[in-house]
Amino acid sequence: MIEWITSTDHKKIGTTYIVATVGFFVLAGISAMLIRAQLAVPENTFLGPHLYNQIFTLHGTAMIFFVIAPFGIGLANFLIPLQIGAPDMAFPRLNAIGVWLFVLGGLTVFAGLASYGGAAAAGWTAYAPLSEIAQGTGAGQDMWLVGLLMASVSTILTAINFLVTVFLMRAPGMTMFRIPIFTWEMLATSVLILMAFPSLAAVFAMLLIDRHLGGHFFDAPYGGNPILYQHLFWFFGHPEVYVMILPYFGIVTEIVATFSRKPVFGYVGLVIAAFAIAGLSLGVWAHHMFTTGAVSNPFFSAVSFLIAVPTGVKFVNWIGTMWKGSIELSTPMLFAIGFMLNFLIGGITGVMVASPPLDYDAHDSYFIVQHFHYTLGGGSMFALFAALFFWFPKIFGICLDERLGKWCFAFTFVGFNVTFVPMAFMGLEGMARRVYTYPPVEHLALLNGIASAGTVVLAIGVVLFFVNVLVSAAKRVPAPANPWGGYSLEWIASSPPPEFNFESIPQIRSRRPAWDA
């Protein structure tokens, strides 16, 4: 135990990230179940308004800050040195500081539940002035801010580490245009983090000053400006969406190429598309603020539409990679295909709400809840499972059960869609988000009932994953170095890889070193 927590080996740090994110995912999943239990029937009093606010705040916070974004970072921690042929990350101690700041930050946020006044209850956006009411929100809101400040510093430190490692520590012959797409996507993600996360750290520090030191940054009666909070928050918040999706684009690319038995189609196009998405995502923050009337809607609408172009390029590349390939529908590939189908729905509904007239109608309704769950749940979460199934043998040295894996996919795919399709219709019928109950009007009772039933199916799928891990751990079928026939360098190393990764320094001559070997 002591050896593990003091380790600076990137593989142990990456594994710690992954295990911690899976733990936070369980907590976020339980909170999601509680939310759906509360909303299963109209005028329900199961949770009550204040507890409901805490639960949905914790759910959103955990999924965004402690599950989806850091899972990509954790996987990158494990994979990047292996994929570029480096013995470790450039700054191993900094890497270890990052993971422990992240873990302690997450625990601090959840520990707020035990504080007086309960956990934070102002939503994952913590909009001022709601989040500034110190007495109403209690210590939980402060613990939330402390936890997220720690997590944001952790993310910035890790992004610096990724950039230095990729640019300076590649193996002989591993030129930039030979590194795997996942590493490229993490490079784009790292640049995005360095540009966006300081804004988050700044706005949360300002909020703490307002709450504890008598500041009035966002306090309109004293000359402050609550819209400034939204600007600073969303300058981080929208790039954060891409911090939560770019790594998963990389994961899907690796998996699609491996299980199509073909090289990646349009490698350079995928790299350019990743950086185009990253760049454009820094200029769209105020499409979350269309309805404030305080931003330039035409500007933000136009740039938001533009992002669909490089995203579409990625779909073309994935389809091109699969085209005439020898496709094997193993569990990781099924999840990757599930990602594509779900993310497409999320993307198209995103294009819809990039139009201000439509957004005025859909804003703060369940249509938006459906939209972002299709991008981050149906998209990123499916790719997260794809990654877990794909790299589990490499990380832990044992194979997962394929039959249970396919059942896991079936339940999660059906459960996810049964849960979130009705939410689009709830939104169109005018159901507002962030409300703890609703009247029995229109079809809201039926639609909410279906959504809550879907959550149960989805939960069974997630439980099947854990059953699979336990069963596989009991069987302990040892994983070979390259169980899937992958092409990138990590598949040359043993499963799990040894300390410092390779017996000798690898020498690279193509984009597919494992197929060259």
Partner: protein
């Protein structure tokens, strides 16, 4: 390093274009213009720093035909396998932040401890 400079340089140029466009289209809105301006300056500084500091960098990873023996021995560097400082630093950082909010004395003491432990880790890093 050429790719690094191209990447950050082109990102800075893109940031500048977006900032100028935003300034005029959004009727001189201050918050967004400042954010985009700072972002562009940070990207340009990073590209400029790479040009100055790493202009003589000769990396085996940039040579498509580099041989294994060109990157052996001391070139690879020395990597520590363990250190107790990272988790201690994270714990003290947590105590500092919570202390400053709820128990200022604890926050102050933790802040001093944080500076000391960071200094000790720097010394350890210089040794290994």
């Amino acid at each position: 390093m050429k790719t690094f400079v191209v990447l950050f340089g082109s990102s800075a140029a893109f940031g500048a274009a977006i900032a100028v466009t935003y300034f005029f289209v959004a009727h001189q809105e201050a918050a967004g213009t400042a954010l985009l301006g700072i972002m562009t300056a940070a990207l340009a500084f990073t590209a400029g720093y790479a040009v100055v500091a790493e202009r003589d960098a000769d990396l085996e990873g940039d040579d498509p035909n580099a041989r294994r023996d060109e990157a052996s021995g001391e070139i690879v560097g020395v990597f520590t396998t363990s250190s107790a400082y990272p988790i201690v630093i994270a714990l003290i950082a947590l105590c500092t932040l919570l202390g400053l909010l709820f128990v200022p004395l604890l926050g102050g003491v933790s802040l001093l401890a944080l500076v000391y432990v960071l200094w000790r880790m720097g010394a350890e890093s210089a040794r290994t």
